[in-house]
């Protein structure tokens, strides 16, 4: 935009801008999907609150991953290891609580630490050794998945505990699993959804309220300018990936609770869904732009789309094609000013 064009803006009312803002565009895609739901409501299933509550529950684990992914993408990076760290912590959590009987708070804390450490390791490799985030997190993705399989012995860690003589003893499901799986507020909302909401709020505070968030945006926008302005680029990045790992651990705990087992194969391809949700929301993969509420919109868009296809029993083949078409349409709708 030239100087002439910018002086033209002097007299333009700012309210005119809202309809082209990223939020409006993301809401546009969500609205279209929602209307599709109203149209193809599967004999009224879409009008029942239970359907929405279940959609929220199904999408919450992906949403928690997307929170961490948002932080990392805003800083100009990407995290491919989110699904593997989810599996790793799911395995550890089940191991701790079901097999070893470790108390819940300690087990949760341990898993959060494990997730954060994995993330921070990726972050350190990226920050200190200047390795591209794609490569570094790809390596972590493979490593964490391998570690999950190793720790679990390749098996699902479930309430069927294998004894030394080869037989299986069945233990009770830990209380925490039941709690996470339960519905509250009169059966109207699931605990996982509430956990997702908490993660959203934490992300919001980090991105908008704290100095740290400003550093993330600056690094994503122009890393060199940020560095020369005194921003601690290295630490900021390490923390971003660490937070992503932390959110993955939360997601892993929720996943274990819902499946009633720690599955080392859990979460396959979840990283792609998380990235898609962030991108559809409008956060740019280049970094420096976007926000957590945009991600929420992206999460809901994909969540509703899947739910609508599911209640209408659309076959897998068509489901994949339609999802791809919606993703492209949503991204096209978003492309306005660069």
């Amino acid at each position: 935009m030239t100087k002439e064009e910018s002086s033209a803006k002097l007299t333009k009312p700012s309210s005119e801008h809202w309809f082209t803002s990223p939020t409006a565009r993301a809401l546009g895609a969500l609205t279209i999907v929602f209307c599709l739901g109203l149209l193809f409501n599967a004999d009224g299933a879409f009008y029942k609150w239970g359907t929405h509550r279940d959609m929220l529950r199904a999408v919450s684990v992906y949403g928690i991953l997307s929170c961490g992914m948002t932080l990392v993408i805003i800083s100009g990076g990407i995290d491919l290891s989110v699904a593997s760290i989810l599996a790793l912590t799911a395995v550890f959590f089940s191991l701790f609580t079901i097999h070893k009987g470790i108390s819940t708070p300690i087990a949760i804390l341990a898993c959060l630490v494990i997730g954060a450490l994995c993330g921070m390791f990726s972050g350190a490799v990226i920050a200190r050794f200047r390795i591209q985030p794609f490569i570094a997190t790809l390596a972590m993705m493979v490593f964490a998945r391998g570690m999950a399989k190793w720790v679990s012995g390749g098996q699902k860690i479930s309430t069927a505990v294998q004894q030394s003589d080869g037989t299986y003893k069945y233990v009770n499901v830990p209380q925490i699993f039941n709690f996470i799986n339960s519905k509250v507020l009169g059966d109207n909302i699931t605990v996982v959804t509430l956990i997702f909401a908490v993660c959203l709020i934490i992300s919001w505070i980090l991105l908008v309220k704290l100095r740290y968030g400003r550093y993330l945006y600056a690094i994503g926008g122009n890393e060199e300018a940020a560095r020369l302005s005194g921003v601690p680029v290295g630490w900021t990045k390490i923390l971003a990936y660490g937070m992503s790992g932390l959110f993955c651990a939360v997601a892993g705990i929720c996943q274990a609770a819902q499946e009633l087992q720690g599955d080392p194969e859990a979460g396959m391809s979840y990283e792609l869904s998380a990235i898609a949700m962030v991108v559809i929301g409008g956060t740019s993969l280049q970094g420096g732009r976007g926000g957590i509420w945009l991600t929420l919109i992206g999460v809901l868009t994909i969540g509703y789309l899947e739910k609508i296809l599911s209640i209408n029993a659309v076959g897998e083949d068509k489901r994949l094609m339609l999802t791809a078409a919606i993703i492209i349409a949503a991204v096209l709708l978003q492309k306005g000013k660069k």
Binding site: K3, E4, Y215, V231
Partner: protein
């Protein structure tokens, strides 16, 4: 003035050009005329409408009122390709090159030579080599563009535009990143183009350059045509008056203050070359700068002056040897964050690359280097940020519709002011300025000079690098000249002359 070979045939005529953006007029009845074989300078402050006029000619804006005649034929371009096909070539101010591609690839970007489906790389390499040779540049065209300094990149941009047959060439600030030697090469090219009958539209902010190169000058102000005159008939004062509507007598209002104590003292500073070349970028340099003083550092391409400032600031980490003292306390450059905390600020010579975060708004850019001040315990206080930004807007006379607009929508001069505001927020003791008025229009330049005065009278020490000799001579209290990493001369402002400085910059030792 370069050889006058104006044949009187009219190449281009633009009349009655009007253009609005969202209801706001940016060009009103603008006109412009170009003859074959002439260099016609288009002058005006930032915001005057020059860029818009040029963009209309280049086919970027297709929605305008008025008429364009090419060789007396009325034309209306529907796209950039249309204009290019009609023989109009534009050299942009912002480089339109890809650093990760080779020079040859860049020159033929978008118009690759092909043999059927296959790229004809050999031919493109040979052609580019020839083109560059004509401009006197002898560089390896198969190397990536990004590995060359900015001035070379700008020359490649120029060659790119010349790679194709064109009748009309628009050059928008082509010398902003060039050294004097390369500027001469450019003028030689311009001379050749004139002889071949091309018409050149030249946009520049450098007075010397304008008077050196122009056959005619047209001035726009606030989107309107003010006047056209032959260069020899238009004196500087009158031209500036046309541009700003007021007499600017003192172009360089330097109020010297009595210098105080040494704020920064640098001894035997040696910096290994950041790009890994065997010769150090800065070799055993010692100097000091006092509070209230502006120390100018002159130098041509490769002199190491920019690297010196960056080295002091910690851009390259702690790879430098030698010792520094800041307000009589030892200082070791380690990181930019450390330098900032000690009170050293660096205004880099490329604000878009590393001075501003273009996607962020003005407030956030202004507070970025001093963010700790606005976020006690890590919690941001947007009110204090907005207040500080508003104060800076006042103090620096920043022209922006709203402080929430992203900085990439500001003009060059205003962007530079935002960067300066950012550094002022850190309460610097020593301010390193690397080309502070590059790409900035006359009015804003003046304001920046006044700011430099204000800062020095408040006790700041300023080190100034500028490739505009008049600016260097007028604003510096003392001048040191660097050549290939070493200091070759030192002058007081009264002793210094352009010739002496140039000699020293080209290697003659006068110490």
């Amino acid at each position: 003035m370069i050889g006058q070979q104006a044949n009187n045939s009219q190449l281009l005529k633009m009349t009655g050009i009007c253009k609005s953006f969202s209801g706001v007029r940016v060009l009103t009845d603008a006109q412009f005329e170009l003859r074959a074989g002439e260099v016609h300078v288009l002058a005006g402050e930032n915001g005057a409408g020059k860029s818009t006029l040029i963009k209309i000619l280049a086919g970027v804006h297709t929605d305008y009122e008025g008429q364009i005649f090419l060789n007396s034929q009325p034309v209306r371009f529907a796209s950039i390709h249309d204009a290019a096909d009609a023989g109009i070539s534009v050299i942009h101010q912002e480089l339109s090159l890809v650093p990760s591609m080779t020079i040859a690839e860049n020159i033929f970007l978008g118009r690759e030579k092909c043999r059927g489906l296959w790229l004809n790389k050999k031919e493109m390499i040979a052609e580019s080599r020839k083109l560059l040779a004509e401009t006197g540049l002898d560089i390896d065209v198969t190397q990536n563009l990004g590995s060359y300094p900015l001035s070379i990149q700008q020359m490649v941009e120029i060659c790119k535009a010349l790679a194709f047959d064109c009748r009309i060439i628009v050059m928008d600030e082509p010398t902003s990143a060039l050294t004097d030697v390369e500027v001469e090469k450019l003028f030689t090219i311009v001379g050749k183009l004139k002889k071949s009958g091309c018409g050149i539209i030249y946009i520049s902010h450098k007075m010397e350059e304008i008077y050196r190169i122009a056959d005619r000058i047209t001035v726009l102000r606030d989107g309107q045509f003010v006047g056209t005159a032959a260069a020899e008939e238009l004196d500087r004062g009158k031209m500036v008056k046309w541009m700003v509507g007021r007499e600017l007598n003192q172009q360089f209002p330097r109020h010297k203050s009595a210098p105080g104590q040494a704020r920064l003292k640098v001894t035997s500073f040696t910096l290994p070359d950041p790009a890994g070349k065997p010769m150090p970028a800065v070799n055993n340099v010692s100097f000091d700068v006092r509070s209230g003083e502006i120390l100018g550092i002159a130098g041509l391409q490769g002199s190491g002056n920019s690297e010196l400032l960056n080295g002091i600031f910690g851009t390259y980490g702690s790879s430098a040897h030698g010792s520094c003292e800041l307000d009589s306390r030892p200082y070791k450059p380690t990181t930019p964050a450390n330098a900032i905390s000690r009170g050293i600020s660096l205004l880099t010579n490329d604000r878009k690359a590393n001075g501003l975060v273009l996607g962020m708004n003005i407030v956030h850019n202004v507070t970025l280097a001093a963010l700790k001040k606005f976020s006690p315990l890590g919690w941001l206080k947007p009110n204090s940020e907005n207040k500080a930004a508003a104060e800076q807007k006042e103090a620096l006379n920043l022209k922006a519709a709203s402080l929430k607009m992203p900085v990439d929508s500001l003009s060059g001069g205003n962007q530079q002011k935002v960067v300066m505001a950012k550094w002022i927020e850190t309460s610097p003791k020593v301010f390193l300025l690397d080309e502070p008025t590059r790409g900035v229009d006359v009015g804003a330049k003046h304001e920046i000079y006044e700011l430099m005065n204000k800062w020095t009278s408040a006790g700041l020490a300023i080190i100034l690098i500028t490739s505009e000799m008049p600016e260097l001579l007028a604003m510096s209290d003392r001048i040191i000249v660097m050549h290939r990493g070493s200091i070759t001369a030192e002058f007081d402002s009264e002793q210094a002359t352009q010739e002496k400085i140039l000699h020293a910059a080209m290697g003659a030792q006068t110490n």
